[in-house]
Symmetry: C2
Subunit: 429 residues, 2 copies
């Protein structure tokens, strides 16, 4: 962990840099597979599944029987833990429901917004040895609360043509509509165009490797909405003398184990804290199964020592971390200063793992500095907010003249006429 | 206006098609200009301004003096109309402010969201003969309410190196921070990277021609957020026997005058209404200055007659129009059936022009069927919603065991350890 003492603001850009992962070279591959699947549907999905996943699948759709069997394979302990998390995620996302407020902007002119669910959405869950059932909860629960009718889940099959039981169990619990055993670019292409068996969706959610990321970006260019631009996961911890160095080390390590490209940053007002945290990292990491991943991630990590916590927060806003832990005195009273972050964890007992799994907040968050302009996934991500307006005859009479003047000034005479013709009839009526 | 009687659902896809505007061939041009401006800053902005706008600009930044002079050139009538519109837009967008709701998901686990403004945003206003000052209102007013610190406006200079006075006046009224006389791809590139004089922004808003559209799409790939994917403007009117054919015709014409690629669709339950509206269009269009544009747009337009209004609404949801007028009996009681639309205008006196200018709703809306997954611009577009959480010692003790089980099942041992180490210290403390 490289340490920087009082870096001046000219150095901040360099210190806030993320490791760039080049994806441009995948664009051609993505285009070829998309075109093929648009043209040949399921047949091509099969082809790419056997090429990339090394398995021949007769029927992509996971059957009810498979789901029921999978459910039996998940331990009661895990099911109970998932239920606890699901309850909290439900409570928090349910609290994001909005009640429409109708306002009268001018006498007789009523305006309001109402939410409507996106009808059909796709959720991508990566494969691999670790089954990311927590992401199923984070995406399917708000989709269900929003009222999405079709929640389509795709996840790559393993060598035996199966999806991990914990993923299927979480999908069943959360009310996913259909589950398909397909992954990678071919899954995103199938959700983009629809095939004989896989429905076309309007928005695609979920994490993935560089292939999935490139495919989602391409789908977006074709008009399919996506949850967020992708980037490696990251954590910034602001710590002062009130922190517990063991806790801070454990949080930095939990972020580092996500992948070699994960980035962890410690920002503090004391060199002593850096020493303590580095020591605690050394001790704790020895027993971690993902030690080699952690060590590689730590190579991208930094410790910054500033003269005070105020400057530390300024740097954090400049960096715009996905996850931000405030292990500082009186943390809750400082949150007004936080401008850019995906999700903020306040105080010594709010570890990032809590938000990753079970506190109720969503773990799909803006990385790579996108927290400057993007929000994490929430109930909003699954709805459109439609504006409604109603003008009474009094309303158009009150507001019409202003509209006529503005439309004329923009040289849009037909716009003006749509008002004039109404005013004239009202006058004559 | 081509008329279709009772088209069956297999034909709907064809009937819902938009005229496609190819933009792919611009990608190379966009890339070249972006690279040049990233490297050479203002010098390149100057170069492209003289190439594309045919004018040499010494100082891109509009001075306070220029703004004050422009303000004097705008008539009092127009200023008053703009003020009326601004008041309504302010009221409606102010009503979108949210009060954070803190909830306790598990005893000792507190979660909530707070809004933070996007610090620096860019607004693009197209040039041309018609000055789109209304778009300045629609973008700068919510930006100001949200609390954006830097609101940067770019608009192309005319042959005399000027921006239309009405645009400058609206920018002054709404509190735009800086105004630059640059347009096209070079403006979007400058906002993406920043130059010596033009600030880098986090999100770019506003309409534009195909060059601006392609440039915004490229900026998005580089990590700059944009308001909405672009597409030609469109209107769908659902009308029954209670409609006024003259009003419907005036609305369809107001949409048609936007551009040759605008699309207008009339959906009704009666052939007689189609005849009446077509007749009214013929009469009204003769006096319109933009008659030739209107006629070209009407070539893309359609009239669909369905057996009942229920089916008409189903088609509308399938089409997902940017603007939807409900000129039907008991319209307000039918809005629960509306699933996909940008903005909905209820009843005979709610003309689209009202929402375009002055009722208070935003006129930056999803086109091209994007209303299935995107919302129009609102206060939300100018903020990020950051999640916050605080676990007390009791909170981590209550929730910790569930997190440990889930993290272990996802094989993320460091995530588990971040909880275990806290539980252990609490046990021993």
């Amino acid at each position: 962990m490289k340490t920087y003492i009082n870096p001046n603001s000219e150095e901040w850009s360099e210190l806030a840099k993320r490791k760039t992962v080049p994806t441009a070279d995948l664009n051609e591959t993505v285009k070829v597979i998309f075109n093929d699947i648009q043209k040949n549907g399921d047949k091509s999905v099969s082809k790419y599944t056997s090429i990339f996943d090394g398995v021949t699948i007769a029927d992509f759709k996971v059957s009810n029987e498979e789901i029921q069997n999978a459910n039996k394979l998940v331990s009661e302990d895990l099911k109970n833990a998932i239920q606890t998390a699901a309850d909290n995620i439900t409570k928090f996302h349910y609290s994001q429901k909005e009640i429409p407020t109708k306002i009268e902007t001018t006498a007789g002119v009523f305006c309001w917004r109402e939410n409507r669910a996106i009808d059909t959405i796709g959720i991508y869950i990566p494969g691999g040895t670790a089954p990311l059932f927590s992401t199923v909860l984070m995406l399917a629960i708000p989709a269900k609360i929003a009222g999405c009718k079709n929640i389509i889940l795709c996840s790559p099959p393993d060598k035996n043509g199966q999806i991990n039981p914990a993923i299927l169990s979480a999908a069943k619990l959360t009310g996913v509509t259909e589950i398909f055993k397909i992954g990678g670019i071919q899954a995103i292409a199938a959700l983009t165009f629809g095939t004989e068996t896989i429905p076309k969706v309007s928005k695609i959610f979920g994490p993935g490797n560089q292939y999935v990321t490139a495919a989602k970006q391409y789908a977006q260019q074709l008009g399919i909405a996506i949850d967020l631009p992708a980037g490696p996961s990251e954590l910034l911890v602001i710590a002062d003398a009130t922190c517990d160095a063991d806790f801070v080390a454990s949080d930095l390590l939990s972020q580092a184990e996500h992948g070699e490209d994960s980035q962890v940053i410690l920002v503090t007002n004391s060199e002593e804290i850096v020493s303590k945290v580095v020591l605690a990292i050394e001790t704790q990491k020895t027993v971690l199964p993902r030690k080699s991943t952690v060590e590689k991630a730590l190579q991208n990590s930094r410790a910054l020592v500033f003269k005070d916590i105020q400057t530390a927060i300024e740097f954090s806003n400049f960096y715009a971390p996905e996850h931000l832990i405030l292990a500082i005195k009186d943390a809750e009273n400082k949150i007004d200063l936080i401008q850019n972050a995906g999700s903020v964890f306040i105080g010594n007992y709010s570890c990032e793992s809590a938000g990753d799994y079970a506190s109720g907040t969503n773990h799909t968050l803006p990385t790579n500095g996108y927290a400057k302009s993007y929000s994490g996934v929430s109930l909003d991500s699954f709805v459109k907010k439609i504006t409604f307006q109603k003008l009474t005859s009094q309303g158009i009479q009150n507001l019409g003249p202003a509209i006529e003047i503005m439309a004329a000034a923009e040289q849009l005479d037909a716009h003006k006429n749509a008002v004039s013709i109404r005013l004239k009839k009202l006058q004559n009526g």
